[in-house]
């Protein structure tokens, strides 16, 4: 079944690539600066976080006496969380958004989650390149430990795709899922140590936050970019397990309900 899925994606690679390109192009179509906007937006965001937090608010990480450190800390968590929420968010509505295509044309449905993920990845690639540029200019590139980054990213995508697809299918049948997840995502964001380090939390809450599978992932990113430290792989085991479980559940649900899904759209 997996083989057939990949075969379908491969056969429709033209459609997948075309969709990603069109989505990217359609965002700045009709504007004068064109593709520049796709860079300007994330650039502004990075500047806001580094300047506002590091300079204006004088936020400091406990134990690190460096003006830039908080900016790097916050960006490494925020950008990767952004990727996560974009993948899940897009997957959540991908079947509803493409209802017309699904109802009228016969193509491998599995292409849609792939397109959603790639779209989010393109956006992330731009912002991440800017972030790396910023690190290089300030002399903060993490060095050899950067090799761990693709592994972390892959793990994160696996988790996001599994969750996104599961919710995406459910959202077709129960539209409340989309609304509910929007709210949950906000709580989840603040329940993950992205804009604050866990060290400022009381012990009881800190233990609770460690149960969040996203916590070790975000911390790994922060340690990687802030201190150039390798991730502690065993900490990521719960995330890997939940990612695998989610993917199996999502594929199972997708397979058993994809016929009924078209009738419901």
């Amino acid at each position: 079944m997996l083989a057939r899925m990949f075969q379908g994606i491969w056969q429709y690679r033209g459609f997948v690539a075309g969709s990603v390109r069109r989505e990217f192009e359609s965002r700045y179509r009709g504007s004068m600066l064109g593709a520049a906007w796709t860079v300007l937006n994330p650039l502004a965001m990075i500047l806001v976080y580094t300047v506002i937090f590091s300079e204006v608010m004088r936020a400091r990480l406990p134990g690190v006496d460096d003006r830039m450190a908080f900016g790097v800390f916050i960006c490494s968590g925020l950008l990767t969380w952004g990727l996560f929420s974009e993948v899940v968010g897009r997957s959540l509505t991908m079947f509803l958004d493409n209802a017309n295509l699904l109802k009228k044309l016969n193509f491998p449905r599995i292409c849609l989650p792939v397109v959603s993920m790639l779209n989010a990845l393109v956006n992330f690639a731009i912002i991440f390149a800017l972030f790396c540029g910023f690190l290089a200019i300030t002399g903060r590139l993490p060095g050899i430990a950067l090799l761990a980054f693709p592994v972390l990213l892959l793990l994160q995508l696996l988790f996001a795709c599994g969750l996104g697809m599961l919710l995406g299918v459910l959202n077709v049948f129960f539209r409340d899922v989309g609304q509910l997840f929007g709210i949950l995502l906000q709580f989840w964001f603040w329940f993950t140590p992205i804009v604050y380090p866990t060290s400022i939390l009381p012990e009881s809450i800190r233990r609770l936050i460690q149960l969040n599978p996203m916590t070790p992932l975000i911390q790994s990113y922060q340690n990687l970019f802030l201190y150039g430290r390798w991730p502690v792989w065993t900490d990521l085991l719960p995330l890997l397990l939940s990612a695998l479980v989610l993917c199996v559940l999502a594929l199972g649900l997708f397979r058993s309900r994809s016929g009924e899904m078209v009738d419901e759209l």
């Binding site: 056969q11 429709y12 690679r13 033209g14 459609f15 075309g18 969709s19 069109r22 192009e25 359609s26 179509r29 009709g30 017309n100 295509l101 699904l102 109802k103 009228k104 044309l105 016969n106 193509f107 049948f173 129960f174 409340d176 016929g259 009924e260 078209v262 009738d263």
Partner: protein, 420 residues
Amino acid sequence: MGHIRIQQLGKAYRQYPSRWARLLEWLSPGARPRHQQKWVLQDIDLDIAPGEAVGLVGSNGAGKSTLLKIITGTTLPTHGSCSVGGRVSALLELGMGFHPEFTGRQNVFMAAQLQGLQREEIEELMPAIEAFAEIGDAIDQPVRTYSSGMQMRLAFSVATARRPDVLIVDEALSVGDAYFQHKSFERIRSFRRDGTTLLIVSHDRFAIQSICDRAVLLEFGRVVQQGDPEMVMDYYHARMTAGLNHRVRQEMLANGKTRTISGTGEVEVESVRLLEQDTSVEIIEVGSEVTLEVVVRATQDISQLVLGFMLKDRLGQAMYGINSYRLKQTLENIRAGERILYRYSFPMRLGPGNYSVSLSLSRRDSHLDGSYEWRDCAMLFQVANASHENFVGYSWLGAELAVERLGAAAEVLELRRSLP
């Protein structure tokens, strides 16, 4: 390659009393189902051989679109199976997925990618697509600037850029101007000649009868009749007009045609003849004076009676029709058992060919309002041209000609100048 095999196929949509009911059902597997099944297709058995052209007819909601969706693979059947051999191209909703902000060319790429084509293949097909659509430089303009006809042209050209093994055509095709309609029809015919299996949904009798080998009539999700297109179309027409509760019967005629008779039966046709100088004829010379003689008998008392007739060509196209209401001879208060003789006289100004006579006995002008009897193929006749000039077409207008030679062009000019 190119076959469609449908066995014991059924399709039901699930209807839940509420969203919560679905959730409860999902959460309690094994418990009794909380949905009702609404069957839109049932017991469909259909075998379409490679290269065959089949027309699918039926009123709205009969299940035609659902069946097409199952054949194209967008919807799954609830039970039974459907297998299709080879590459399927469906002209269901043309222009589907066109993005208004992108140019025609970019949209062609997208539409073709949705068929699973790769960039290089599309680039190869592009010149042919452009040439067939004939929209000129507009191909590089955003699609939002297109007229609906232009969008249709482009969409059709992409969808038929490669000859598919199975082509599914929905009514959508009737958009576009006459020129392009003709051109697209020609392309479909040429696919057919090269062995493409065709499945056409249409309400257009002419389209079905002129290209299909077979027609299939769907009613309430079941196949109720299939076979020769003319026979099925007559049957369909009879069912439509007579109402579904009325009886419809069909008889095989000696020449292989089928006579369809429907109606409530208060009045019946007893005999029908075509007379030329008081002798019954079946072959008639173009332009000769004929009389259509119909004897009807009432089986019950009725308040009003109108008899109409229609002459149709071999494809079932109406040539001429009139009724006694429009000729201001509606009969009233007819007793059971009464017989009535109708005689319509007219010159046979039709072109050479085979024709049929359809009769309608009804209460008023329209046979939709109280149809006592509707009889397709009540009789057949042939028109031959032995004595007149050799003209073309369905009607003999008997043109007369006057020719005058006006001399050289220069003189004509001079003549014009001298005129006031």
